[in-house]
């Protein structure tokens, strides 16, 4: 009786363990493997008695572990949808799991921050460097940029861009007495030099975008979105200058680039997305999701945020925290799943647009709450209508950027002359 119990239990456990193999392998050979294992159980009990079961299980577990890993890596379907999505099919869930890695890391970090652990900030500034490593290794080995690398790439770009701002704003390199003494011969002040560099970079990005749009014969709406982006950037800087009481040419060259820095980076990323949409099409929009991932980082506040002056402000802080968590959930978990699980191009476009616009709306709401909080404190009492304009203009710049990106990624490069000839030849044959 005890033998039968052990026998049946062993069979049940082995049947469960067969789930470690890929589905195709299990369906084809699972029954045969169970039959062989059953034969082994019979032989073990007959030849070696009670200890036979134990020895058999040790050997079987070793064999199962090694062979299951081998089968998992040798099954052709394993890599389907991991490097790139199959056209008109949703990304398989194992691919989705990889896409969600950066979002999960950030979401967990956000929750940790709410519990008072400061490693969230460490995560913000260093996750970009860590998460990009497997992407670059895969890119180098497979010669294909993986789909799940788009979010880390957007994140990495933002991290580098932020690092650039710290160097730019600190003026460490440009004002170093020995290394950059030659600057005195180029320009009367480091501020003007920095401003000029940013203006030149902006001009180059816009020129590249115009060149690309012209060569690809992109539709008229590309120009509208690009125009809207430039006009809104100008409106934002103008509003910010007016708000700060800055007038004249001097601040235009020295301070304006600081205001434009983030928007220039966003525009550059949109341009960068063109290199990825050849392989990933509309899913290149995941780059923007990666870029947006570290934004809205509030949740636990330093002084004076930690000691709200009254209950009303306290309620605001709670609401801000809830908004941040909702934002994080959408941008880190819900949006990527919706985008990569959408099969048709139209559904992908809809998923990208709606989720990105929800994120923009949340950011606007977030900023409004922060502004109200500031207005409730005496030190920020001079909050004016122009401050509101600047707040909204900054978000509208982002909206126009998203519009530009979706139009650009909606128009993959046309078929070249040689490709069209070969297609014609095939049709004729």
């Amino acid at each position: 009786m005890a033998f039968k119990h052990k026998f049946d239990r062993s069979r049940r456990v082995y049947t469960r363990l067969l789930y470690l193999y890929p589905l195709e392998h299990r369906e084809e050979y699972g029954a045969s493997m169970l039959q062989v294992f059953t034969d082994q159980l019979h032989a073990a009990s007959r030849e070696e008695g009670g200890s036979g079961f134990f020895i058999l299980w040790v050997r079987t577990l070793w064999d199962l572990g090694i062979s299951a890993i081998k089968e998992q890596f040798s099954t052709p379907h394993l890599t389907d949808g991991l490097l790139e999505a199959i056209p008109n099919q949703p990304l398989p869930w194992k691919g989705v799991a990889l896409v969600l890695v950066p979002g999960l890391a950030f979401f967990i970090a956000q929750l940790a921050q709410l519990s008072g652990q400061d490693w969230f900030y460490w995560m913000i500034y260093r996750a970009g460097y860590i998460l990009i490593l497997p992407v670059l290794i895969t890119w180098a080995l497979k010669r294909k940029f993986p789909l799940w690398g788009l979010i880390p790439m957007g994140l990495f770009f933002r991290t580098l861009w932020d690092l650039g701002y710290r160097i730019y704003n600190g003026g460490l390199l440009l004002t170093h007495p020995k290394l950059f003494s030659w600057l005195k011969w180029v320009t009367p002040s480091a501020d003007i030099f920095r401003g000029a560099v940013i203006v030149m970079v902006t001009a180059v990005i816009i020129a590249l975008l115009i060149l690309f749009a012209h060569r690809q014969k992109l539709p008229q709406k590309t120009w509208y979105w690009l125009g809207a982006y430039i006009v809104l950037c100008a409106a934002y800087v103008g509003g910010a200058f007016f708000d700060a009481g800055l007038f004249g040419w001097q601040p235009l060259f020295t301070i304006a680039p600081s205001f434009l820095y983030e928007n220039i980076g966003f525009l550059m990323l949109i341009l960068l997305g063109n290199f990825f949409d050849r392989r990933h099409g509309r899913l290149a929009v995941l780059l923007l999701i990666g870029y947006l991932l570290p934004t809205v980082i509030y949740g636990r506040f330093n002084a004076p945020w930690n000691s709200p002056p009254n209950d009303l402000v306290n309620i605001y802080l709670v609401l801000i925290t809830i908004i941040v968590l909702v934002y994080r959930f959408i941008i880190a978990l819900a949006a990527p799943v919706w985008v990569v699980r959408s099969a048709t191009p139209g559904a992908q476009r809809k998923a990208s647009l709606i989720t990105l616009l929800i994120c923009v709306v949340i950011q606007v709401v977030m900023h409004i709450y922060v502004r109200i909080f500031m207005a409730l404190n005496i030190q920020y009492a001079d909050f004016t209508w122009i401050s509101w304009f600047v707040t909204f203009a900054e978000e509208l710049v982002m909206v126009s950027g998203i519009g530009l990106a979706t139009v650009l990624y909606d128009n993959p490069p046309p078929i070249t002359q040689s490709e069209s000839v070969s297609v014609d030849t095939l049709v004729q044959q």
Binding site: Y21, H25, E28, Y29, M33, V36, T60
Partner: protein, 116 residues
């Protein structure tokens, strides 16, 4: 024309012994496993995972095929799947055996083997 079996020179021990086991007739998985253990004096013990991983790859390579006939239900479980060598499998196991025999002959000449 170069023999296709040349490309199968470096068979793994498990694949070699499975081919050797099937050389005297078709067998099911457990029978192959026991035969391999006998051939190797229990030095090569395969579990079901390794066995069917090898079988899968050998089927894909055309070295073996599944026998269509099932055993008599009164003698054995009719769900058992039997495998046999293909013509390519026979050529490959022959070539590999000859290669190993040649290597053994060289080892004897060089007095590496204790008994000759």
């Amino acid at each position: 024309m170069k023999d296709q079996s040349i490309s199968y020179q470096s068979l793994t021990p498990a694949v070699f012994h499975i081919l050797l086991s099937l050389s005297d007739g078709e067998k099911h998985g457990y029978a192959i496993m026991k035969d391999v253990e006998t051939q190797t004096n229990n030095s090569l013990k395969m579990g079901p995972g390794t066995l069917y991983g090898c079988i899968k790859r050998m089927l894909a390579s055309g070295l073996i095929e599944e026998a269509e006939e099932r055993p008599d239900p009164t003698i054995d479980d009719e769900r058992r799947r039997y495998y046999r060598l293909t013509a390519l499998g026979i050529r490959v196991i022959s070539a590999e055996s000859e290669r190993l025999a040649a290597a053994v002959a060289v080892a004897r000449q060089k007095h590496i083997l204790a008994f000759g």
